[in-house]
Structures are given as structure tokens and as C-alpha cells.
Symmetry: C2
Subunit: 188 residues, 2 copies
Amino acid sequence: MNSGNLYNHLERLSEILRTDLRKSGIEHGLQPVQLEVLHYLSVCNRYSDTPLAVTEYLGQTKGTVSQTIKVLEQKGLLLKRNDTEDKRVSHLSLTPRGSKLLDQLVPPPMLTKASDKLPEKTHKQINQALQQLVMALLQSNGMKSFGVCHTCRYNMHSKDGGYFCNLVKQALTVDDVERLCREHETAG
Amino acid sequence: MNSGNLYNHLERLSEILRTDLRKSGIEHGLQPVQLEVLHYLSVCNRYSDTPLAVTEYLGQTKGTVSQTIKVLEQKGLLLKRNDTEDKRVSHLSLTPRGSKLLDQLVPPPMLTKASDKLPEKTHKQINQALQQLVMALLQSNGMKSFGVCHTCRYNMHSKDGGYFCNLVKQALTVDDVERLCREHETAG
DNA sequence: TGATAAATGTATCGAGTCGATACTAATATT
DNA sequence: AATATTAGTATCGACTCGATACATTTATCA
């Protein structure tokens, strides 16, 4: 019932972080959305590094995302390669410059500063609370969860201790399973 | 240390809510920022209903906010009155139409739906966690807290059970003390 | 008191966002 | 082989938002 109070906090939090991101981004010639795209690319897996996946993640239209990507490519922060199998799709990755820039700006120093002041226990609670909220939000509204393999119903453990995705039918590396996947479906 | 994970959740949450707000707002001809201004005006007290207070709350520049307010006024959702004492300042308030519209869109049905699915206990935890985070964020970065009188160092209880603000030197009503104030300074 | 500074708000400009629409090209379907 | 679907691009227009410049009113202080 009291989602009003919840919304108050979320809205304020959003506005503060976005304003901060805008400020720090502009010093490097980047817009908030552009940073968000770079950030997503740094945490997604190799099946989820396409313009469409970015579109789904950010909840915008593909036209919008296409523009953003174009700009980032021109700035030399992002690399676009064609998929070898499907000529319609392209894969995006950060260039060393893009990666370096992202490290400077994300997570925002402002947030790190604040979170450092909180006791470790509180920090964990907040983190967990947010995660629950995100999941509830996505689930209630039929959106893609974009989780990691550990929590995905398609994830299988193979005998040798490795991982195997039952959707794409391929073995996954240790690095793979720690990244966000657009095909993720919560197990259960 | 692990503010990266925290940021992941926050960014995602922000993006989802903002996209949703944009979508629902556009159906009524309103932009996300405009809704945020209306929302703020619905929860601030009479000392904090000026363009400058909105500016501080949203973290934008006064020029930007001035434009937004102008549009909202033209749409008939917001009323601007001159202060009787200081001719530089104006006070903003929602018109009945603005108030009604806000009720429909804020908090976003999407969020209410999600929060209803969570157990009451979890809900409370999330709420508390967010509040702590907002406070830490504001405090670490020297921003105004915009809290309610109950938690303000200027708030005094008078003998008759009423409230008195030691900064503006005026009695406050029960309604006053439940609203956000731009002069708020956390007690302690 | 009179000059200067500070505060509140407005006007205008330009770079950029973002949804809508229309489009191309490649792959799937039937 | 014809059609539908999917991934992505191009273009347009309404809007955002910081920057700069400005007007007016109030505060400061010498």
C-alpha cells in the first residue's frame, strides 16, 4: 500500500544520481545514456552485447539506441563487429579507451563515497533490498530479468565442474557465467 | 568497496522507472521532469514551494527549472503566486487538475504492483534501506536533506503540543510538519 | 545613506535525447 | 519461392538541460 513513500526515495535517488552522472559525464563529453550503454556492455555476456539487447535492457526503442551507439562508435569508445553467423546482428564491445573512461566514472565516486560511510551490514541489506525490488518490478511487468547464469534455468553444471547453457547449447566459461544475459530466465 | 553492485541495481531501477514514467506521462502530454516537479510540489511545505527550492531538490539549474515551470503553468497544472513580503520570490502550487493528474500517475502503477507482491516485512526493509542510502548520499556530498520537521534541528515542540520552527520563527501546523522543507537540517 | 553585492527568477541558444515512422537487409517460415 | 519476422539504420520533431546573459529586488557594509 505504501508505495508512495518508496517512490519518494527512489525518485530522489534517481534524480541525484542522474544529475551527478550528467555532470561528471559532460566533463568527458558524454551523456548519461551513453555512460549507461558503456556500463551495460561492461557487464553483459557475449550473447547479450548486441544493440537489441541494449534496447531491451534500457527500455528504449531500437532507433534511439542505434543513434547512441553510433555516437559512441564515432567517439572511439565502442567497437562494432558483425556476427559471423547471422549477418543481421552486430556485437558491441568497449575499446580500451571506453573501458578506461568507464572505470573513472562508474560507479559514481559520489555513490562510493556514500556507501563507504555505511556499515558493511547495512550495505549488504541495501544491496539485497534493491535486488529484490528490481526482481519484483521486472517480474510484475513481464520484463526480461537480465540476470547471471547462476540463477538461470538454462544453466547446467557439467561433470567436469564447468557450465553449460541449455538454451544456446554451448559450454560457458567462468567469466561467462558472471555476466548479464538477455536470455536469462529465473530458475524455479 | 562493492558499490559497483549497488550501482548496477540503482541504475537499472532508475532506468526502468524513468522509462515507465515517460510512457505513462506522454499519454497525458507530460515529460518525466514535469511529473517530478508536480510530485515535489505535492510533498513540500509552504517555505519550500518556490522555483529555487525545486531547483535544489532536482539538482538542475534555475534556468532549466524556470522553463519547466512555465510550461506547467501554461498547461494549467500549476499556479504561481508572488510572495507578499519578498517581491523576488514566487510560490507554486498544484491546481486541482494538476493534483488529479498526479494522483493517476504517481506513484507509478508499475511500482505499486511490484511492491504489493512483496511481503510487508520486506517492503519495510527496502524502504528503510533506501532512506538510509539517500541520507548517506546527501550527507557525503553536502547536499540539502529536504526532510520533514520531525527530524529537523530547528523543530521545537511548544507546550500546547504544537510545533514551532526556530529558523523561520513561526508556528507550524500538523500538516506543515509532515512536508519536505528546503531548510531542513538533520538533528544531532 | 548610498554604492555594491547577493539572491530570485526569466529569456534565449545550441547540443543532445527519445519516440515515431519509414526504411533496408538478412533470416525464418510455410 | 513467397511471405513474415528479425536486426538494425535514417530522419524528423518535440522536448531537455546547461550556459550565458539579463532584470529586479533585497542585503550588506563602508
